[in-house]
Symmetry: C2
Subunit: 291 residues, 2 copies
């Protein structure tokens, strides 16, 4: 497939910046325009070589674009879609890097209107506790999954272009229905984030929080790493995928109540059986990933 | 302080094996006897140089010991204490590596009887998702905290010997009351383990567990690392510290119910405020650790 001549990245943070760097490293893109509200962040992206040009106006930047990646927090995407709709060239393809898909698709339908067929939703399942252009790296997506959730309106060549771009970044591209995507990600990503935040929040609310945390080890550091994510990003994700996330939360609360009852009863046999099942499932998952 | 001539390590796993390796590396010990039920594990400890001699009988091994480290799962400690009580030399000091302290102290009082003054309880706050002698390393305790919870009966020189041994391992030795230790560890270690197990257990119970987990990223790997701990060890810890752990679990359940209510109400402002507090507390903790 021919390289992308003009890529416009709206929101040049970890996700957008890494996409641009990876595509550049692969020779998959010519000119990259970065759009954002923070001039300091765009300057870092320029210095890093992630973008060739910085712009403040998404609409003007979108003119002449072959591919537009919307990589802002998902709560800001509705506005972005509306601002570019009238400026997109006829053959432009638009994609996104949002962690939820149904809400982003709804925002795209509202904002892009009749141009919706140009929008191929995608979610790179990759991240870090770092954020901003300074955290971007050409390697972020190597070996990681990118889930594309095409719309019925998408022409095959638009989907192919988005798949190709992510493959250039070294990613493993899969396809899912948007509703399935949101259900699965609620279970394996959104709920764990909510739990890590809730856990740290509960500790933080104590008068002796620092004294208690002083005795924590490396295990807690790993367990709470998800609570290092940017609060506004995760607020948006939780609200956007609220229904699925609430369902997962209820399931977990039920499981936790069951574990609490075993503990109260001192039922070591059943506790250990649960721990065994958990450990075995984790091991099977990690072994499967290595294949 | 003069080196330990004869160290007896009962339970030569990650904790016991690493203690022996670290003391040897520091020149703090002469002869090390390892006691365990698994001959294969003791052979690995011998091959690794963690122990100089393998024994099956704890009582016989304890004869002539300067220092005995009981590093079995805490559920097995009562039996160990009883088996060594009549064999300990007059000046021997006994310590342990258990993750709970009140229950271990109760087991020691019952098992050691009039020799209880020789027992200086301790908890190295260090670990790994690996286990067994093969995972042992002389570096495990470097820079880590070891919490000593002395008994009123302990002569100062017994406490000093245990502190000295852990310092030889590179550890930072602190002192706490047993009840405070158990309360703090329930919050920063035992509950997170229980949550990680419960989370994986809930996923594992699904018909489509593997399919769901196939879409998980590196964040989930970190979040669930505590669920890689040995089930029998964590069953023992949960049961031994049941009261404090149940208290922590109830607190967390309340927090989670609150977060669920905010989510249900779509209260993004309050959700973000909680995420912010969590993230800030985690950052302050990690910055404090680096000092």
């Amino acid at each position: 497939m021919r390289p992308i001549e003009r890529l416009v990245v709206i929101g040049v943070g970890l996700i957008g910046g890494s996409f641009a760097l990876a595509l550049k490293a692969a020779g998959g893109v010519g000119h990259v325009v970065g759009v954002g509200r923070s001039r300091a962040n765009l300057d870092r992206a320029l210095a890093l070589g992630a973008i060739d040009e910085a712009a403040a106006d998404a609409g003007a930047a979108a003119e002449g674009a072959d591919l537009v990646l919307v990589a802002t927090p998902i709560g800001a995407m509705a506005e972005v879609f509306a601002s570019i709709a009238l400026h997109l060239p006829a053959n432009a393809v638009v994609t996104d890097g949002g962690s939820t898909k149904q809400s982003v698709i709804a925002a795209a339908r509202a904002g892009l209107g009749s141009r919706i067929k140009a929008f191929v939703p995608a979610h790179p399942v990759a991240g870090s506790d770092a954020s901003g252009a300074r955290a971007a790296t050409a390697e972020l997506y190597r070996g990681r999954e990118v889930i594309v959730t095409p719309l019925p309106e998408n022409p095959p060549e638009a989907v192919a272009r988005v798949r190709w771009a992510w493959q250039q970044c070294g990613a493993r591209v899969t396809e899912m229905q948007p509703v399935d995507h949101d259900a699965v990600l609620a279970a394996v990503s959104h709920l764990p984030h909510l739990l890590a935040y809730a856990f740290m929040q509960e500790l933080a609310a104590r008068a002796d929080a620092a004294g208690v945390l002083a005795h924590a080890g490396t295990g807690l550091r790993d367990f709470t790493r998800l609570a290092a994510g940017k609060p506004e990003i995760w607020r948006d994700i939780c609200l956007a995928n609220r229904t699925a996330l609430l369902g997962e939360l209820r399931r977990f609360q039920d499981t936790l109540a069951g574990v609490g009852a075993l503990l109260e009863d001192g039922d070591g046999v059943a506790l250990e059986r649960g721990f065994d099942a958990a450990r075995a499932a984790r091991l099977a998952w990690l072994v499967g990933q290595e294949r």
